[in-house]
Amino acid sequence: MKPRLVVIGNGMAPGRALETLFEAAPDAYEVIIFNAEPRVNYNRIMLSPVLSGEQSFDDIIIHGDGWYEEHNITLHRGARVTQIDREAKTVTSAAGITESYDKLIIATGSNPFIIPCPGHKLHGVLAYRDLDDVEKMIEFSNKENSSAVVIGGGLLGLEAAAGLKMQGMDVTVLHLMPTLMERQLDPSAGYLLEKELSSRGIKIMTKANTKEIVGTDCVEAVLLEDGTRLKADMVVMAVGIRPSVELAKEAGLDTGRGIQVSSNMQTSDPDIYSVGECVEFEGNVYGLVAPLYEQARVLGMHLAGEADHAFAHSETSTKLKVTGVDLFSAGDFAEGENREEIVFRDAARGIYKRLVLEEDRLIGAVLYGETADGAWFFQKIKEGAPIASEDRENLIFGQSFSGAAPLDPTAAVAALPDDAEICGCNGVSKGKIVSAIEKEGLKDLAGVRSCTKASASCGTCTGLVESLLAYTLGDEFGGTKVTVCGCTDLGPGDVRRLIVAKELKSIPAIMQELGWKTSGGCAKCRPALNYYLIATWPGEYVDDQQSRFINERVHANIQKDGTYSVVPRAWGGLTTSKELRAIADVVDKFEIPTVKYTGGQRIDLLGVKKDDLPAVWKDLNNAGMVSGHAYAKGLRTVKTCVGTDWCRFGTQDSTGLGVKLEKLMWGSWSPAKVKLAVSGCPRNCAESTCKDIGVVCVDSGYELHFGGAAGMHIQGTQILCKVETEEEAIEYCAALLQAYREQGWYLERIYKWADRVGYDTIRSMIADDEEGRKAFYQRFLHSQQFAQDDPWAQRASQGVDAHEFAPLTLEPAE
């Protein structure tokens, strides 16, 4: 009979301890786990991306069902242990499940601290600890115009606030101290963080003391000491955690703030161990994942019979997981005697860096806005080696300026010592990652994650791990950093910004000024640059045909056999007998093999020979038809229903609005295709809610939607706002299109752009900021002056690009 190892708790720390144990001594124990939550082990650090909607629960599972089966683990789900009998060596759950143990691990974690103010038991007061909390929060956020108050401006509170804001809630953060995250940040960095979060529409109130949560059954408002009253449908308490010690205390184990353990994680009963947030070691309790994983490793090795591992208190570093906020802190950065500081500020770019030195040693670092050197500074803090006076001058500029290492990130990781910690969460060193890449033949990030755990928890060291892959594998590493293409290290955002900042007005100018690595670019970057230039300099930049994909060069869609398809515009999906007759004649005259209705309410002529294109267009032009741009990264169709003209349910003239939108927007180029629809009532017959931009007419006006997709990726739209008049609907839609044209990356649909910059950012740009919206609209109208020239007419009658359509022909020699 194998000894029985019983584990109370199924969180990240005991999960990691078991992994270590199974690796060092497989089959040593029969393992039984009690889990108070009804689910498998998941990555609690990643609850914030689940809350914000950036990831799903499945993305953050650490151990799926298969893992428990593979290791023959008995997992009691939804079973809260209520009693430990140390005499009989058994544990018993609330529902009466009893298991005996030879060794016991208590991993009960922590409980959120709930401020016992009046009203703290009302429905709608939540903690932020597990998936149940997240699910409840998302439920609240789904109600229209709902608002949340988050009490606590620390790591957890701010992540919760950012997530709820992304879910569309109105969010206020209450923080007792004068600046945010005062335990991890100094006041300057706290100020920058406050400014950034405020600019995202999160209200921050510091020195805010909660007096009462008001409501009868459910939360209605929060009342502060100074009399301020804040409307709230939900209150999230994120002021701190307390180790959960009750069970251990009742069993008579030594407890203080937490369950007291020795350096090998043994409690005062040698057969009982403890690990995780419930533990107290040398007076310290821990809430960050790195030291908890270290405890787990020590415990796992100890259970496997390797006793020479000991847990020791060490420095920790912090990163905030809010998309788009770069923030790093480590060590001790309080001011004090004998301490000196080095500060760097770049107000324009929102960068702040501060290093604290004591007796020539680096003891603390706070970085905001630019955190690439975080790991390097953290290493210096842990090493505690004296900083030479000649190095001090450049220390703040980080690794690239200390010594000869250039700015290249690969060179930067190359310069790190082997024991430099890369992944703080999992305590993985550079040496371990490099040897895993070499020995296991790893080729990508996923391989490194599954083999070493590096970057598998919070993910903020992903860049460093990729640099290590590039450093170890050289050219073999494909890379995952988003760049325009292999011709440059710059990303699309940088390129767009630099085109404007440096007033670059041609493709060669971009390549020269931005240091392109190839002389003439490639098939990936040239179309992108051509688009960025068209969108940035309307009327000035001359379209480069040779940088266009064939469809946009010849204004038709290439088919598998080299023939083309031709789709004339049908404004709002309308047509006439004259147009239909002309189409029928063209089909007969040019022997076009297939005629088909598209999904966008138009007619597609398939199988047109390239040489015939100009003549086909000429006939269509003569009947008043123009290019439908069915081939373009630009406006495609505006799908409509019949609206008030015919439909007994129609609330507005949806067809008319569709035609107006199409007449306004046709010919505009955009980062990717743009499809619109206008539905006359919420029955939504034009399927507006899966379009890039959609309008749903209602009795009182127009609901504007955006960010839908129905291709490889399917997703419904989100609401931009509601407007009352048709003029407003047109202005808002055009302003939205222009914002996308100016900010989107090439080939990025509106939904992807919105995912990247945030749906709320877009709402505040278009719906809330009237001046900004009108400026977007004016810029769109300006740009359209140069865009609305039918490309078919230019080629059919004006001889544009004639060389495209006429091959050079030499007859067979006689």
């Binding site: 003439g520 490639c522 040239r526 940088s547 266009r548 290439i558 080299g562 060389h803 050079l808 030499l810």
Partner: protein, 110 residues
Amino acid sequence: MPHDTAVIDWIDLCAIEDIPLQGSRRAIIRGREIGLFRTMASEVYAIDNACPHKKGPLTEGIVHDCSVTCPLHNWVFDLKSGEATGPDEGRVQTHAVEIRDGRVFIQIEG
């Protein structure tokens, strides 16, 4: 038709300006479809105008450096050798080209 002393005819096809810079031109020579490509450096290359993968018309692709990317499935061919580059394997027939006094002469092989 002008002749050279070579066994195969040199054919005077067009002026160099008839092919757009960093662009291409289809030519049908004695019933055979040839693609002419002019690079940024104004060098001219000729290859058979069909990708070995799915017969994509290479003249419809984007010309970059000394290569062209097929418009159908993005295979990239080196214009000098006719070899597919990157992960794909395949080759298109190349044809000799000479520029004389601004005119493009071509020798059709095989």
